[in-house]
């Protein structure tokens, strides 16, 4: 039997499609951070709605948006994104407005709504689902806890060689800015030389600059006693096994991190996408997300159904005071962002 070239090509394409597998239209495709891949978080939603949530993890907004660029419109339904980067997705025309009346907006901690970033033209494009602090994480059995109440400790020779720095330039630059009395939201090109001085002193005092996994390992194994940029996201999840790990909000303040959920404009499953966002923002969903296996963080919904132990570990009761003293991530424009990244590169390369 002879087949035409067209038939063979069509057959090949179909085989390829079957080999690679395609998501069912009823599935929900979520571009997420690792805390959303915890089965304890996803399964209740999947069981309740009789669907499968297909997740793809990424790190860094650039990497996430690159995945979207390489996908067909409609491939993805929801995305987790740094709250400060929601405008990037909006500018690219990726996100659909979210119906505020169907979301628990009134229950959110007001300080983490971040409307300036999560809204555009009066419409909400992102909703903060989880937050925490890039601050000083430490092992209280190895350091003087009183020293941890000031960012000056980051360059204190007393702790030389006992410090690890979290390798993400925005929060660490934010902490450096606060240590010299500058506001993270007002940083300009002119501040970079002074920031570089502080960062170089911090680097000289540090043993290592570590990524997410290595940061947790460094504190947990005793490789470092202090983690610059650490916080509940490092210490809370392992608090049962490592009760000596803790974090402080120094008198100068801490950098507030927050992650948002957004729905794709081209989603083919918008109803289910909204249901997913509603589930994540519900008291039960928030508790599960806050205590996810990958990392813990504060739920943005103040009514999250956390138990007393979980609240204690996350220092839930202290949040009003913490939030009062916290400042947002530096949110530079593209040119300043590039210069901040180059500044960070120079600091990493310093001997």
């Amino acid at each position: 039997m002879r087949y035409s070239l067209k038939t063979q090509l069509a057959g090949g394409a179909l085989s390829l499609l079957l080999m690679t597998g395609t998501a069912l239209a009823t599935d929900l495709n979520a571009l997420i951070w690792c805390d959303h891949s915890d089965p304890a978080l996803l399964k209740p939603f999947e069981d309740a709605n009789g669907i499968k949530v297909n997740v793809k993890e990424f790190e860094g907004t650039g990497a996430g948006l690159a995945i979207v660029d390489q996908s067909k419109p409609g491939d993805w339904d929801v995305m987790v994104i740094d709250s400060i980067d929601v405008p990037k997705g909006v500018a690219k025309g990726l996100f659909a407005p979210l119906p505020e009346d169907k979301l628990p907006m009134a229950d959110l901690f007001p300080e983490v709504r971040l409307d300036a970033k999560t809204m555009a033209d009066g419409k909400r494009y992102g909703i903060t689902e989880k937050f925490g602090y890039n601050t000083i994480g430490y092992n209280k059995s190895k350091v003087d806890v009183r020293d941890m109440q000031s960012l000056a400790v980051l360059t204190d020779p007393k702790y030389k060689g006992r410090v690890a720095i979290y390798d993400y330039y925005l929060p660490v630059i934010g902490m450096a800015a606060m240590s010299i009395g500058k506001k993270t939201s007002e940083l300009t090109e002119a501040d970079l030389p002074a920031l570089k001085d502080v960062l170089l002193k911090m680097k000289a005092n540090a043993k290592a600059v570590t990524d997410v996994a290595a940061s947790q390992t460094a504190l947990a194994t005793g490789e470092a006693d202090i983690l610059v940029g650490g916080g509940e996201w490092v210490t809370a999840g392992i608090a049962k096994d490592k009760p000596d790990l803790d974090f402080s909000i120094p008198k100068e303040g801490a950098v507030l991190w927050s992650q948002s959920l957004a729905m794709f404009k081209d989603s083919k499953n918008k109803d289910m996408a909204l249901k997913f966002i509603q589930y994540i923002m519900s008291p039960d969903g928030q508790a599960r997300l806050a205590t996810s296996a990958c990392y813990w963080g504060m739920p943005s919904n103040s009514k999250a159904s956390l138990n007393d132990d979980q609240k204690k570990t996350l220092r839930f009761a202290e949040q009003p005071d913490f939030l009062k003293r916290a400042q947002g991530y530096p949110a530079p424009n593209d040119a300043l962002d590039k210069n901040m990244q180059d500044l960070w590169t120079a600091v990493l390369q310093a001997k």
């Binding site: 860094g60 290592a208 990524d211 490789e223 593209d334």
Partner: protein, 279 residues
Amino acid sequence: MSNGAQTRAGWLAVSPAILWTVLFFVLPFVAMALKSLWPQGSAGWSIADYQQFFTNDSYWRALTNSLEVTSMVTIFSVLLAYPFAWILAFIVPERWRRLALMLAVLPFWTSYVVRSYAWLLVLSENGVINSALVNIGVLSQPIQLANTRFATITGFVHFFVMLLTLTIYANLKQLSPNYRKAATDLGASPLQTFIYVILPLTLPGIMVGAFLTFVLAIGDYITPQILGGNNELLMPQLIMMQIGRRGDFASASALSIILMVIVTLAYLACARWLKIERA
């Protein structure tokens, strides 16, 4: 078969390989080159991302760091692998050789990432090495081994010694024993035989292994990221940094092209030894 038919048959035979190369190497490479010439946020073509590399000290240092680390890894790997290969080829009895070769490739059976994390635990302050040295009194307190260039090189050498051992072993086994016998008959000492006969004849195997080590090490992201502790950046880490948050694929492409140029230069430097056929 006529010459024309033979030529057509030849082209047909190699066409899958050509198609594969064009689809998965040439086209991506051209796309990457074009991307590198259109900087993020710019309105037109520009070599700004290349200029940045040559004018920004910390970018340039990533290349020198990479070259230093990779050169050390290649040299240490060759120096360790050659004696191993020699022992396997000429000293280990025939009946044990298969087992010895299997032990040599054993590290390849473990995931590269897992192996790097294992080294991190070995080299950490509470790790095997520091604990042993402190317990036997050599050190009064642990020293920093993890998160250093030493750790990166150790992780690399552990992996590439095995690769090089196999490459050199294959080369040594191909050598006729008559070369050594003839050199001995002519009055050469074992050292002279090695330096003037064996070493030159095994140089192609060494160079192939060294080139593979260089190419694989200079482009590797995992080992320096896990073991080096970001106390210094190598080229792959600098490339990844461009993509992570900012998604600056133009800058990442420019740096990747520069890395490819370095690999090409390394190839040209080794090309005379990188031949498939034996002279």
